[in-house]
Amino acid sequence: MSNTHRVSKAYVPVIAFKFSRAWLVLLLLYTLGPLTENVGAGRIVPFVSNGVLIGGGVLAILLICLLFAWFSYLRISWKLEGEEVYITKGIIKRVNKRIPVSKIQSVDMIESIPERMFSVATVKIDTAGGEGDDGKIPCLSKTEAAALRSAIFAIKNGTIMAEEFASEPAVSATSAAPVQRIMEANTMYRMPVKNLIFTGISSSKTILFAFVLIGGISQIFQIFQGTDLYEKLADTLLGLAVPILVALVLVFLVVSWAVSAIGIMINNYGFTVKNAGAKVEIEKGLLEHKTVSIEKNRIQEVRIASGFIRKLIGYAEISVKTATLKVQGDGGNGKNDDVIGLKIIHPFIKISEVDYFIKELLPDFAGAPKVFDALPKRAHFRSVRRYLIWTIASIVICTLTSALIMHFAGGPTYVEFLLGHPLLFIAYIIPTLWAALTGYLAYLGKGLAITDSFISIKSGAYGRTTSIVPRRKIQIAICSSNPFQRMKNLATIKGTTGAHAFLPLMDVEKSTAEDFLEWSIKVK
């Protein structure tokens, strides 16, 4: 593989398609209006001339993109030489990329739809702290892609073994059994169609998707605002009885749920987990086929999560976080980055089988604690109050705004209006009860387990997320407390691993949090 390689000729149409896609959609959007207008008005001549113009436009776009793709094809080349991957690409700005194999975290194979038509694949090389598309080699023939992957892994395994035997012998089960590395990958799990369907319909992302869809639809309505169509639609909607409106909303929710469920099924089609010694290999996808490999000793955190529905039927999802060495940036105490870089290694597993699966696939994590300590009783009240405060605050804000609006609009005051419509009190009572219940369940759902080499944190009101972090992967340990927590002698424990923040846990006993700090720095 040491000589320079070109990518497959399929690169030209695939990249041309990628470039032209956005432009074609834009062109269509802008021309559809006048076209349909002409047809509606029975004006054939402008319709034809418009059609010719649009056809010309499409052709021009395709031609430009093809030309661009061709030049880009001439410029792109790669080679694997002396334990380094070289990638050269770029028309105007030339990029010469050198990636030492030892820095490579994972090599993924992605086949997008146009690539599948030509049976080629993109090899995506992930390095620690790498950014952007620099490590991508698009459109390799599948045999070439597979050869490159195994060549990289072959070099990598060699160096890893040498390093590990030199510095830290017998740190993990994997390094103790080097034979396993060369062993053929054996399939741990291949998802049957029945489970695929359940994965789709039980995902809690579906509800989120409904909200996104609602946002999108309201956007479309804004575009049509002021037109006849909008007026008509608004009139019909307002004319409908309440039950019909409710039914419409329900139908809408069901449809959006079904669409998103199908999306998840397409993504997870043929989900296969393979145990390949030092690596976990995952294949999935119906339209876009993905092959992902995760190095076991780079795993920083294992998460077992089940949403409300999955918890009810006794299933969970297992994901892992791998090291992403982003040394630059802020203190790593960011709040939202605890979901960055999650890779699913099993989308739908019986909760009772989780332990076995982890023991077989990730033996390093087999010793994780299973018995959790509940939070102190004082945390219970705080949990309920935390949820209540936000709900009551938003209720108060809503009430005040409505009262103000009604005050300035004239007519009845808000209190009169409220007394006239006693059903409105439901809008006060239900969210409050809901918040109290959520706070109570959130308290019950939380738990902490610390053993010599692991910390496990459990949380979730209606669903359940368990996070397992090995002690030697913790980079920074933090115990923080706000004034209210200090009054009750409570604290929050959080921290970072090589994969950013792990799941934080609020309101543990202050002494426990301090023990956690002490525990995190123990050397062996």
Binding site: E168, K473, I474, S481, S520
Partner: protein, 160 residues
């Protein structure tokens, strides 16, 4: 905890924060006062907005120049032992951070124009999981601290 962090930053750091406060107050003051001052002079714009702007600027000055810098200084404590760097900081939310020496990838000292004016530097330690900073040491002390940390890190090295 076997050791509460007890070392304070250089007393000059309060001066740095004070200077930053003054610059910040100037900036917000111009934004708040200037438009309403111009409007009040040229048009019949009510001058209450001008006075509100002046009052807010004065309040910001009081808080960020007179009060907070000293409190910030008293509320940042740290300790460097052979095994760890401990930082305790915060007024309302108190954060107690522990960086094990074995996790530190590299360290550096840096100073911007304001820190340089006070002959100070800040020491940063980088781990795979993020960066922690001890701001405001005398330059010589900061360099010494950086070297000491680097020496300690050399002794114990672990993989990510």
């Amino acid at each position: 905890m076997r050791q509460e962090p007890d070392k304070l930053l250089s007393k000059k750091m309060a001066g740095v924060w004070r200077l930053r406060g003054i610059l910040g107050t100037l900036f917000t003051g111009i934004l708040l006062v200037l438009p309403s001052a111009i409007l009040t002079n040229l048009t019949a714009f009510p001058d209450i907005f001008l006075w509100i702007g002046v009052a807010v600027t004065a309040a910001i000055f009081l808080v960020f120049v007179a009060i907070l810098p000293h409190i910030w200084w008293t509320h940042f404590k740290y300790a460097i032992t052979d095994d760890e760097i401990i930082i305790k900081r915060g007024i309302f939310i108190v954060e107690h951070t522990v960086v094990p020496m074995i996790k530190i990838q590299y360290t550096d000292t840096s100073y911007g124009p304001i820190l340089r004016l006070f002959k100070l530097a800040s020491v940063k330690v980088m781990t795979a999981g993020g960066t922690e900073e001890i701001p405001g040491q005398l330059l010589a002390e900061a360099t010494e601290m950086r070297d000491r940390i680097t020496d300690l890190v050399k002794l114990v090295k672990e993989n990510v």
